[in-house]
Symmetry: C2
Subunit: 111 residues, 2 copies
């Protein structure tokens, strides 16, 4: 493989890694949701209360996207009424420290 | 201040820090641009070549937004033809390591 092709391949790989990162954090709510679930397992109603600015429709849609991406998982307990809880997956827990560190960026630019 | 108000204030502050963070990294291109400028000062033409998927219109608009946010700065050299270079500001350089670490998130989820 000559150097030029190798460099192009390397730039391509970097782009797809970055694109995957952006998929996980994109939009106004995904990081908010990850932060709230990150510290402990959350019931749906708790998430509603903790992120009151988001509409019910968008919250449900973003929870679904984060599940499809493998960042969070839903556990349904066979109780009456049924209990539904959200938790980070093991990959989600693995990247949580990096995502938490991101708030430093906001802090620096709010100064 | 009672405990409830204090908690609500703390959640409010966290939200605005996170919102500022999201402003800086939002969209498909800002992180791409920051990464390319991060390693060294870049001329406009170089950025065009390094991120070929972005349209000229959007690249110019995103460079302007990043300048307004104080992440990058433009230097115009009085040469013929004029030389225009983009570099990170000192705040931009300060947060670059955190933003670079973000690619780990994509790596974990591409596995």
């Amino acid at each position: 493989m000559d150097a030029k092709i190798s460099t192009q391949k390397s730039i391509g790989t970097k782009h797809s890694i970055l694109d995957k990162t952006l998929e996980i954090i994109r939009g106004k709510w995904r990081l908010h949701i990850i932060y709230q679930i990150g510290t402990e397992v959350r019931r749906y109603g708790e998430l509603r209360r903790m992120i009151p600015q988001v509409s019910e429709k968008v919250l449900i849609q973003e929870l679904k996207s984060l599940m499809n991406l493998g960042v969070i998982e839903k556990k349904i307990y066979n109780e009456v009424p049924p209990r539904v809880e959200y938790a980070l997956t093991s990959k989600g827990r693995q990247v949580l420290p990096i995502l938490l560190k991101l708030t430093t960026v906001g802090e620096v630019f709010l100064k």
